[in-house]
């Protein structure tokens, strides 16, 4: 960790967004994670994405569980709402918060231990319910806080820092999210902000359950030869299927790709995802194909990254439950307690 506070001075030409904020205004306190931690890069990408999306910080809620990754919400969006929940229970708390106030933008930040071990069930159910959120797993394949045991996402055959070989199969969070019905699924790498920042922007703008699996090397316990989550390994095996530009409704549309080279997808909030294909046959609109592609590439030892699946027409939990547009926490007593006659009517309807 670092002892001093990050200086308040900033570059004299630092741009401001339409809210008058600089990128620095979206920062939090100084990270207490190990120097070089991939999670810090993801925090920086979240800061950049929120700045570019011009999000009012007080309209964002960041929730997390337990672990190195779950500590990070302290290091970004210092003026947003936050909830650090018990281990693995972030999805439930997020679901509850979202039901109570549908107007906030929900960002769940978790790790491979928090989401793939103790919280695997919670993760699966929040995704399958279509909670409107962006759920980011900062995936380093290791229990860093307890000094380097394999986590549930460690690949079979990968080696720990001490030389032990992992015999258990790794859980692929991306495949799981696809199977659970996530309507926006991406994978990225903490060392590639050019890919990660637009993915986070698109995920935040997405309506429904958006999930990003972000590989994030643990410099302390999982960045050695034999690891499949090290900087070197990920850089060598990274197979991006596309690159992404996110164009918000207020932005002037200028696309650098020639016609025919990119696919445009308009999301619910009017944002346009301009996808530039890299992998010729990859189609991010087809869930089944995405699953097959991931499997095929994984057997070749490749890590597929990019926007893997998106359903721009997706609905969310509120649509399914049929809640009213007004956030529930803004309803007054009269609206919440309609009286005995209304109860009688409801009961009668159920008889």
């Amino acid at each position: 960790m670092t002892y001093i506070l990050k200086p308040q001075l900033h570059h004299p030409l630092l741009p401001t967004n339409s809210l008058g904020y600089t990128r620095r205004d979206y920062e939090g306190s100084v990270s207490t994670l190990c120097a070089g931690c991939g999670h810090d890069s993801i925090s920086a990408a979240i800061i950049q994405a929120c700045f570019e999306l011009e999000l009012p910080p007080h309209r964002v809620a960041k929730l997390s569980g337990i672990g190195c990754s779950s500590k990070t919400p302290d290091y970004f969006l210092g003026n947003s709402h936050g909830f650090n929940t018990v281990h693995g229970r972030m999805p439930s708390v997020l679901t509850g918060a979202n039901l109570a106030n549908r107007d906030l933008i929900y960002l769940g930040v978790s790790g491979d231990g928090d989401s793939a071990s103790i919280g695997l069930g919670q993760f699966a159910h929040a995704i399958r319910r279509g909670v409107n959120m962006l759920y980011i797993v900062e995936n380093n394949g290791v229990y860093g806080l307890t000094k380097g045991q394999f986590s549930a996402t460690s690949d079979r055959g990968s080696k720990s820092k001490k030389g032990v070989v992992n015999t258990d199969a790794g859980i692929d969070m991306v495949s799981l999210a696809l199977q659970m019905g996530a309507t926006f699924v991406g994978r990225s790498f903490s060392g590639d902000k050019e890919q990660l920042v637009p993915l986070i922007k698109a995920g935040l703008a997405h309506k429904g359950a958006a999930f990003i699996d972000c590989i994030s090397p643990c410099v302390q316990f999982n960045n050695h030869v034999g690891s499949t989550k090290s900087f070197d390994y990920v850089r060598e095996h990274n197979e991006a299927v596309n690159t992404l530009d996110v164009i918000m409704p207020r932005d002037p549309i200028h696309v650098s790709y020639k016609p025919g080279e990119s696919v445009r997808v308009q999301q619910h909030d009017g944002s346009i995802l301009s996808l530039h294909k890299i992998a010729e046959l990859y189609n991010p609109a087809n869930r089944a194909q995405a699953l097959g592609y991931l499997q095929a590439r994984a057997t070749r030892g490749q890590i597929v990254t990019g926007l893997l699946f998106v359903d721009p027409e997706a609905g969310d939990l509120h649509d399914a439950v049929g809640t009213i547009d007004t956030p529930l926490n803004q309803l007054n007593e009269a609206e919440l307690v309609p009286g005995a006659a209304a109860l009688e009517k409801l009961n009668a309807a159920l008889r």
Partner: protein, 598 residues
Amino acid sequence: MHRTREIESDYFHKVVDCQYACPAHTPVPEYIRMIADGRYSDAYMVNWKSNVFPGILGRTCDRPCEPACRRGRVEAEPVAICRLKRVAADLKSDVSDRMPPPAAASNGKRIALVGCGPASLTVARDLAPLGYQLTIFDKDTKSAGMIRSQIPRFRLPEEVIDEEVGYIAALGGIDMRFGTPVDSLKGLLTEDYDAVFVGSGAPRGRDLDLPGRAEAAANIHIGIDWLSSVSFGHVETIGRRVIVLGGGNTAMDCCRTSRRLGGDDVKVIVRSGFDEMKASPWEKEDAMHEDIPILNFRVPTAFTHENGKLTGVTFEVVEALFDAKGRRKLVPSGDPDEHYECDDVLLAVGQENAFPWIEKDIGVEFDEWEMPKVDKATFQSTLPGVFFGGDAAFGPKNIIWAVAQGHDAAISLHKFCQGEDVAVRPPPGVTLVSQKMGIHEWSYDNDISNDIRYRVPLRDKKEALKSVKVEVELGYDLQQALGEAQRCLNCDVQTVFADKLCIECDACVDICPMDCITFTEDAPDDAGGEADLRGRLSAPAGNLTQDLYVSGKLGTGRVMAKDEDVCLHCGLCAERCPTGAWDMQKFYLDMTYAGADA
């Protein structure tokens, strides 16, 4: 891009803006850290070694360091470097035992120095400990040249001058002959000196030959002569209404001195625009603070007089026009001429060199502007044994320039007297040492202060204007000094990058508060390449005078490019680097003085 070579080049020296801008290359951040540490005497000695007159310069320097200060590029105002120098001088303890001892024995060489100003005194300071017998001649009755004669006492008390000249006199082997003008260089050369140094300054104030000049002569004074007369007590009063003509620092000294000698309606009137005046901004402020208006764009056309007595000055009102090449021309604005009444006029419209005492046939050649032909590096004239320095060499500048030139001339004089080639100059010593003390501990305070520049407290205006001898600036008190010292960014503690250790984790990029660091594709090694690379930085600099620090190719084929322009030297890149690829290393430039390479 060509990989940055730190040590061999001036690269890191340039990063220390203040030191680089200082003609004497005083290690500014080093002495400011000493002040912050309570080591005032050490801070004084670092200054003394480099600029010889810390107490004097801490009150009067033209401060080329401050406009250069990096702090001025990241917030409103630079560090008050000059006034911190005064703090070191004010708070030090007795430093006499830290001064070099007199030479054990004379080396048998005799050098004559003409003029006892800052240039000659610097030469004497550098050469006396080496055993030279030095004879200094000066026309005035006291030492220090323009320091004493032209700078008013309310800016620089006499004790400070006496103390700092005293340190030099105590070095031994120096014979100061006052009231002894040199009126013939030819004569001096026959006196068997091994070498001669001319540090006689720019002693002639420019006159203004306008109608009425002769008739009203009794009340029209040449600024620097008048200031000198005030300094030596020959003049004690001036008329109630005074007009000062000229826009330089001498004009500011003239008007402020007038306010203290009975002038209660004092004006400065300049030809140029206010912003283009030669006076330092803070000197203009000080004058205006003493209720002295500065009227600009007025060209004097005549001195008016009645019965042989000055009655005022007539001015033509002009405006500035710029031609296609951006050159300024003053043209009549068409407004009617203005007349300002006054009792006295002080002329501060420039000063000149004058060498009537140097014969034209002895081998010292002069150029078309009547200036001696002097080598810019060695300060040697065309007559090998005669050297020049200070204002006498290249025209009027400031004390700090005279000191820097004195150091260089001393090296030449020493080499000349030892029969060595004066053109072979000893290079400065350069060291670069890691400041790492622990995982997140550095030997310097890397926590950046958010304080804005501290104002130097002034004596109450009423009190200050009562006497020409009462110092106006009170200097920082201890709390203010420590606060101001904390504003220094420690630019000499450099960010040093080792390509081979970098794993490209982006931690430095993410933490850098100033967006200085970019990992990007390499660019071709030419001017276009640099422009291309600058365009791809995360926050391109407006100021292009600071270089880019470019690494060799890294694992992914990219390079690390750091823009030095607004780096705070907070060391967070090094703190967040998991492999130690970044380190904070203190750059120290040890200037070489006469005799050091022996």
